[in-house]
Every structure is written in C-alpha cells, then in structure tokens.
C-alpha cells in the first residue's frame, strides 16, 4: 500500500472499506502533511482536532456503505460550514461563523466525509491567481512563487500538494478549471443548476457553480455524484436524473463526436498551447472519437460580456455586507459613514473595483448599453453552443492561454489578469458543464490543461472523454515537496 497521502480517493475508500486503513490513520496523515505545508498558505482555517475526533468516532461505528467513508477533506472557504469560520477570503467576513451548513457540504458529511479545514481563495471568488485574498497569497506546489490560479487557488494547491485527497471549489468564470490547469489537477464545473447554491457565499448568481477538484477523473466523478442533488431551497436548482457518475464511468468513447472551435485559436496564443491542443486532438482520435470542426462565432465577445454580467450581479450580492448584521464593522459617525468606512476597509481592491464596475453598468442611463446588451450577447453565445451541439457531443479546447505565471506578475494589470479566463468564461455564460484535465507541460515544466465542454446535464459524457484521454495522456505531476518543513 502506498503512502496514505499519495493515494487517490478511490484507493483510500477501498482501503477504508477493506479495513486496511482506519479513518483516524488517514485523517492524521493528511493533517500531518497539512501542518508541514504552511508555506503554501492553502488553509485559512484549520479544523484538525475536531476532524481527528470525528475520525475516531467514525472508526468506532464505521458505516462502510457510505460513498466517502471517513474520508478527510478540506473545502474552499466559500462554503458555509456550521460553527466553523467562513471568510470567503475577505476581511469583511473575517470573524464570521455560520450557524448553518451549505447543501453541497452537507451532502459530503452525509456520505461520511470529515472536514479538516477551509481553503484559501481569492476574495469573494474574484480573481484568477489567489492574490486577492485577505489571508495572503497561495503558493502553487509546482514551483515556488508561482500562482496556483484562482479563485479556487487554495483548493487546487491543496489537492496538487496532497494536503487533502479531494476538495470542492466554485467556478463562476473558470475558478475551478483554471487553477486545476495551473496545478496539474482535474477540476469539473457542472451544468448550472446541477449543484445547489444554498449556503455558498454568492458572487454572480447566474454563473456560480460548485464542483469537484481531484487528482484524477474517477475521483471527480465520485465526488460529483455526492454533491449534485436537487435542492428546493435554491430556486435555480434543477430537477433532472443524475447519474452515478463514477459507476457509469467508461473509457469507451468510440464514435463520440468532439468539436474543435476555430474561434478558440486566439491571436497571440503561445505555440505550446496550440501544440497541446493538437496533441489532445490526436489523443481523442486514438480513443475512437471523431473530430469535427465547428464554429462558435461569438466567442470573442464572451469575456467582455462576462465582465459586465458578473460584476453587476456581484455588486448587488455584496450589498448585504454592510456591517449591520454580521462581519466586520467600522465605526461611523452616522449610518452612511458607517457603511462607507466598513465597505472600503472590509473589501479588498479587486472586490471594490468589481463592485464599482457592476454598479456603473446597472446605473441609470447605462443599463441598456451595458447590462441589457450583455444579456443579449449571452443569448447569442448560448445559441452558438446549441447549434454546435446539433453536430457534436462535446467540445475540446485548451483550458488556459498559458501555464501558471509568477506571483505579482499580473497583479497591476486587471485586463491582463482577466484574459486568463478567455477559454473558460463562455462555458459559464452558457451554463454548460466543463472539465479541465492536465495534458502536458510547457517548456518550463509547468502543467497545461485541456478543457472538455459538454451538453447541459451531460456530465457523464465529458467525464468519460476526460477519463479515456487521461488514460492515454498518462500525465505525471512533478511535485517535489519543496515547501515541506
């Protein structure tokens, strides 16, 4: 049996079910490694002693029918966890302890999982490098001073660094897929409405989705089974037949039609990305899939559209952070003064920037030109996909326009930072599922990811395609444990 923290979720589950390992042993192993990994700064809140107690309790009366029996895991600090501090990476929620649990995390605990801590993220999920968190930057285990991507940077870093066997993040414009790509891990953003948003700190309501992040596709599939449920407490939650994704996982994708959208070949794209994409196409063919050229004509308008819609919704969703009911409050001479000081001291720069953008595009005189227009273009983008899916079953693209960049490299140039999301954003705008799998390395040896986009509610197909390609690609993440103390 290999070292505990090197095992995949499936291996751990099997070992616990076969009684080769106890939950306490597994939990202790991940806690130990996490404690030695403070330099990554992946954690905002540790829940170690509670976790060990829960693991012991599990071992006393193990329910081995559960899907995640006694499995320890940390989750992104955007999920409200009962009685455990939840900050959204922000000062304004720096001391907030929810008295309630999010639906998605409850699903995890109901299947036997044990919470070991809350993972760092960009503040309110706004960012692509985990450099906007009030709790400091996160390091990418791949190399020192490299960003892990964002906003689920702490999550990706923790999975790649094996501080947790699996985790869940959230994805609004690429926040699961892009960090997965930057850290050589797998991340799935499900169809909009697949996972409940109840209890998740909201960023952009029509785009946010929770999703699994793991070291391989099979682990993601199992996690997706657990977290995807219909929730009447979320009016945008959708009732549809959900597969047992891991059970129905297959590498047989013969005859699946995979579309290659020419518009994703953007100007100035590094050759390595183009090469990776070609390699992916070859792998897909090897698996028996059929490659089809398709067009998604409005692709180039996706990013500007996103940067109107997301900030607009965020500006309204973040209005509740006013120091009145919970969270940070600054002293003010009167109510307005209190609001202004609280919010300008409690929110970081990127959040304030996006709130301002959002407020502006909704304001009187600008609504039609910006927000309304963006929602129309969003319709066109969705139509593009609907048209394409008449011809293909899935779409293959690169996940990101580059490998991970250095911490600080793009911090002062918001637009350059936003361009990270160019391949991932259209998927959120159309509400479709998308998965990123590591597919190669660039000349520096940093991981590069490929994205497979699916039809609405067809997570199974993209998981299968990803599973088949993963087998062919045989990606090995080069982790040297440089940060371990």
């Amino acid at each position: 049996m290999s070292e505990i923290t090197k095992q995949s979720l499936s291996e751990l589950v099997k070992n616990i079910k076969d009684k080769n390992l106890s939950s306490e042993e597994v939990t202790k192993a991940f806690i130990d490694r996490s404690e030695k990994s403070k330099e990554l700064n992946a954690y905002i809140t540790e829940n170690y002693s509670s976790a060990l107690e829960n693991a012991k309790k599990f071992d006393q009366k193990p329910n081995l029918e559960l899907k995640l029996p006694g499995i320890p895991m940390a989750v992104k600090d955007l999920f409200c966890t009962k009685d455990i501090r939840t900050t959204a990476g922000s000062k304004i929620l720096g001391n907030f302890v929810p008295t309630y649990e999010s639906t998605v995390t409850q699903n995890l605990w109901d299947e036997g999982a044990i919470l070991i801590g809350k993972l760092n993220c960009d503040e309110f999920a706004m960012g692509s490098s985990n450099e906007t968190s009030f709790f400091g930057n996160v390091q990418n285990p791949i190399d020192k001073s490299l960003v892990p991507g964002g906003s689920s940077g702490g999550s990706a870093s923790a999975v790649a660094g094996q501080l947790t066997p699996i985790t869940i993040g959230t994805d609004t414009g690429g926040s699961i897929r892009q960090p997965a790509s930057f850290t050589g891990t797998v991340g799935l953003k499900p169809t909009y409405g697949s996972c409940s948003r109840y209890g998740i700190v909201a960023f952009a309501s029509s785009l946010d989705q929770a999703g699994p992040m793991a070291q391989n596709v099979k682990d993601c599939a199992l996690l997706q089974e657990v977290i995807s449920t219909y929730d009447p407490k979320d009016s945008t939650s959708i009732e549809f037949k959900r597969n047992e994704y891991s059970k129905e996982l297959t590498n047989n994708i013969k005859g699946k039609k995979i579309g290659i959208p020419k518009e994703y070949r953007v100007e100035g794209m590094p050759k390595e990305i183009e090469d990776l994409w070609q390699k992916g196409i070859e792998f897909a063919k090897d698996c028996g899939a059929q490659i089809v050229d398709i067009t998604l004509p409005h692709t180039s308008y996706a990013l500007p559209t996103y940067y109107i819609v997301a900030p607009a919704e965020a500006s309204s969703n973040l209005a509740r952070y006013d120091g009145v009911k919970y969270g940070f409050r600054s002293k003010g001479e009167n109510l307005t003064d209190m609001y202004e000081k609280t919010r300008s001291e409690g929110f970081g720069d990127e959040v304030q920037r996006r709130i301002m953008i959002g407020t502006y595009v909704l304001s009187s005189g600008y609504y039609d030109a910006y927000y309304l227009k963006a929602q129309k273009i969003r319709k066109l983008i969705k139509n593009d996909f609907d048209e394409a899916y008449k011809k293909v079953d899935a779409i293959l693209t690169p996940s990101t326009p580059s490998s991970a960049f250095k911490i600080g490299e793009k911090k002062d140039d918001p637009v350059s930072m936003y361009l990270n999301d160019i391949f991932t954003v259209p998927v959120n705008l159309a509400g479709l599922p998308g998965i990123s799998i590591p597919a190669g390395q660039d000349t520096k040896g940093y991981p590069l990811g490929l994205q497979i986009i699916g039809k609405a509610f067809d997570e199974q197909s993209i998981l299968n395609i990803a599973y088949a390609m993963e087998e062919k690609i045989k990606f090995k993440n080069k982790i040297t444990d440089w940060w371990i103390k």
Binding site: T99, S235, R378, A430
Partner: protein, 95 residues
C-alpha cells in the same frame, strides 16, 4: 465613454464605498482600461435579440405557505457587531 472622477465619486456613493482622491484616480484608470476592453461589445448589433433570462432550464418552483422557521433570534443576532440581544443596532441616519 470615458470614466472621470465625477463618475467615480457618484458610483462610490451609490455603492457605499468611500474613496479618497488617490484611490479615485486609480479607480478611474483601472475602470477606463476595463471599459475600453468591454467596448468591443458595441461591434455587435443586437436590436432583435431577446436577452437571456436564465440559463437554468426550469420554471420557478412555488413553495407551500407554511411557517417552517422558528424563533432563532439568538442565532440571527449572534454574529452582530453590537451587544444588544433583541435588536440590530446601527448609528443614526442624519435626517
């Protein structure tokens, strides 16, 4: 469409975020470059396009009219920054 200090001050009032001169200048610069990037949308004619109402392909589910929430005042007030057990307390609005 250029974003000047006047607009920044106006938006900051609307969003209840205070800005000093320095911050306002930086924000104006940032927003201007972001909006230049967003201007690309003007290339598209969208007069006859219906705006997207939701990507969620479902209808609005209606809830039964039942009182399910009990008195959870201590939970609700527990996180509030002030000491009062019955009310939320805020500084007065100036009339």
């Amino acid at each position: 469409m250029s974003i000047d200090l006047k607009i920044i001050k106006h938006i900051s009032k609307l969003s209840r975020i205070s800005v000093d001169e320095q911050k306002a200048h930086k924000l104006a610069d940032d927003l201007n470059s972001i909006f230049k990037f967003i201007e690309k949308l003007n290339e598209l004619k969208t007069d006859n396009v219906e705006p997207l109402t939701s990507v969620a392909e479902t209808t609005l589910k209606l809830r039964t009219d039942e009182v399910k929430s009990k008195d959870i005042r201590d939970q609700i007030i527990k996180n509030s920054p002030q000491d009062n057990e019955d009310y939320f307390v805020v500084p007065k609005v100036i009339e």
